[in-house]
């Protein structure tokens, strides 16, 4: 495989394909015990070639070499990914992933994109309501840039302009879902909001996930209508999909050996209806997205629930305000709320779940220096994330960065469960 990849890159040098490369080194250090959480080298290439006047082929391969890795040491199970979307492990330290591979063309006034790609819906930053077309890798929890953690899928993407409207149609036969960390990995989910908590005296067995495998019937389909009207950017969205997070049904039984629990992960179909808007007014931009689904499954301890899960409707939204009134400064506030139907008694989450975010981005000295701070806070579990990042970009080839991630709050929370994993990260990027 190494020879094939080397030959692939060598052939690029002789072709007329436009290429560019990004070599990134990151060293993550645990803030408490000052041990290395990860030390990795990532090479991401972009190869583009025009085909005729109206088409292009784009390939984005990525090679990652990890010298020290607590994120997912060794080879990950990748049960959540379809065979055609998995990472290829050369050994325990080096992996290869074909990130994107698509053919892009125009047919009349319409656009057709075929292949492995990312499709991003919604107007929110960092909090997702409609950005669920592609699943995500949670290898680094939510600390990785979305562009890198979003899992590209093999799909057909058609965009048809009709007068002032644009219609986007998606057909996604690729059955890959959120890639969660395995037990023993640094960001293995333990929050009782999302996984049944272990109980003393009960032997727990986790079954393999029940994956959809019918080519047509289990495909996802999406439809988006966008337009701009009187200064407003508007969209209506519909996604018929398998929720990217499995429902963790459980069954408890007893036998002569004692009490046993079997966890049966299963993906469930969902209809997601959504809308977005974005409008500017002076120094402010107001934006929002709304999503409604009737098929949301929540962990429940209700005595009548035989499988530990209950189905509810979910209405979620994000409302954001961006302010650009300060020189070379971007300030953004977001409010995220999720409402589930019915009573929240016995449920692993509250009826209304609220998270706020504040982002401040300031550049200096002709954008050679950039400071960014991000604060995410969940008011229900009183936990959150604070990130600080300093970036120095002295020329077009190098970027140096220093960042810190602080997770705090109650251990049952999404963020608080990782409060022992605060880190400082030194980064270096070379473009060529």
């Amino acid at each position: 495989m190494f020879i094939i990849i080397f030959g692939f890159y060598s052939s690029i040098l002789r072709s007329e394909i436009q290429t560019s490369h990004k070599l990134e080194t990151e060293w993550g250090i645990n803030a408490y015990d000052v041990t290395t959480q990860r030390f990795e080298l990532t090479l991401t290439s972009e190869l583009e070639t025009a085909i005729g006047k109206a088409s292009e082929l784009k390939v984005i391969p990525r090679i990652r070499a990890t010298a020290s890795d607590k994120l997912d040491p060794g080879e990950s199970s990748q049960d959540e990914r379809s065979r055609v979307s998995r990472r290829y492990y050369m050994n325990d330290y080096v992996e290869f992933e074909l990130r994107e591979f698509y053919f892009d063309t125009t047919i009349g006034k319409s656009y057709l994109t075929l292949g492995k790609q990312q499709v991003v819906w919604g107007t929110a930053d960092g909090l997702r309501v409609l950005d669920v077309v592609n699943p995500f890798s949670f290898r680094e929890f939510i600390l990785e840039e979305f562009n890198a953690s979003r899992i590209p899928l093999w799909m057909t993407n058609i965009q048809i302009p009709i007068d002032k409207y644009d219609i986007q149609l998606l057909w996604i036969p690729d059955k890959s879902y959120n890639d969660f960390s395995d037990e023993g990995d640094l960001y293995y989910l333990t929050s009782p909001r999302y996984v049944p908590p272990p109980q003393d005296g009960i032997d727990v067995q986790i079954n393999d996930v029940d994956r959809p495998d019918r080519f047509w019937e289990d495909s996802d389909f999406g439809l988006r209508l966008t337009t701009t009207w009187s200064g407003w950017d508007l969209s209506l969205n519909y996604l018929y999909h398998y929720d990217d997070s499995p429902v963790l049904r459980r069954r408890v039984f007893s036998d002569s050996a004692g009490l046993h629990a079997v966890i049966m992960p299963e993906y469930e179909r969902s209809h997601l209806y959504g809308a977005t808007f974005s409008v500017a007014n002076g120094d402010f931009v107001y934006r929002g997205e709304l999503g409604y689904s009737r098929e949301r499954y929540v962990l429940s301890d209700e005595p009548g629930e035989s499988d530990g899960v209950t189905q509810r409707s979910d209405l979620s939204y994000v409302f954001g305000v961006d302010y650009s009134g300060l020189l070379n400064t971007f300030l953004s506030f977001q409010l995220f709320q999720s409402y589930i139907s019915g009573s929240d008694q016995y449920l692993s989450r509250d009826k209304v779940d609220t998270t706020v975010s504040v982002l401040l981005n300031r550049s200096f000295v002709n954008e050679t220096w950039r400071v960014e701070t991000l604060w995410l806070h969940n008011t229900n579990d009183e936990d959150g994330l604070f990130r600080f990042k300093l970036r120095y970009n002295p020329n077009d080839s190098w970027i140096y960065s220093l960042s810190s991630d602080t997770l705090y709050g109650r251990r049952r929370g999404l963020f608080g469960q990782f409060s022992d994993s605060d880190q400082v990260v030194l980064g270096l990027i070379r473009y060529f």
Binding site: S20, H21, K22, T106, K109, Y111, Q118, V120, G122, T123, E145, F146, N147, Q159, P161, D166, T226, T228, G231, D233, S278, V279, A280, N281, G282, D283, F284, V285, R287, D322, S324, G325, L327, N328, S363, V365, N366, E367, T368, N393, P394, N395, D396, S397, I399, I429, Y431, F432
Partner: protein, 292 residues
Amino acid sequence: MVATTNLKIYDRRKSKVKSNYIIALVSLLACTSLLAKEMSAVEIMLANEASRKGKTEMSSMLMTLTNSKGQSRERDVLLRIDDRNIKARKSYLEFLSPRDIKGTRMLTVEKENIDIEDDRWLYLPALKKVRRISASNKADSFMGTDFSFEDFEVADGVVGVKNHNYKILREETIDDALGVRKKCWVIEAIPVTEKQIHESENSKRIIWVDQEHYAAVQEHYFDKAGKLFKIRTSTDVRESPTADGGTVWRPMRIEMTTLKTGHKTTLIMRDFKVNEYIDPNMFTRRYVEKGR
């Protein structure tokens, strides 16, 4: 007697010639000054706008950012401008290099009514989506250059006259940045509407408008405190044929220097074309998202 008479006649003729010469000279000077003062400051700025705007404009710009130590960064930028509506410019801009900003695209669609917000969208490859951004933050640096968003607008002209006061300070002959002598009007431009005063980074601009081609060969920018903080020079004015058989004269090199930091940004126009057909679809949010 005759000689004396002849001499007197000669003297009278000479005197008459001299008088005629003086009258002609005075008349010529009067006409010249009349011609020079015939154009008001507003008319000069409208002529300046006319020299800067065709129906469409296409170019690829080489943008060089140089700090006070001489270290430089380069950007390749694709620029498309639609001025078919002289009151509402549409401009599309895409960064072709370097790698860290390649694929960044921006579209600005001005509105005829100056009280209505312009539309502006930005596509960032790292986010893989288009976002609407405020068009009011005109004072912000454009992508780290010494040009602000305001500097990329055609501030003076049909729309500019509604929110600026213009005054001719003097006429002056200067050497442009390449040493070419240019006879200019020196125009003072001061924002007067509340919106313009609030959004602009300038309290005043002094503009040297070339009397031959009406190009603004030099511009001084004064901050809110009245202090000179940036200087722009436009040079290498060349004749460019237009696609519809006309001719325009445009500067092919524009340089902006920030005095406080000594940082400068140089724009060099390449593949410059005027009044070629540009697909109107290029100036839509859809195009910014797809990049084609």
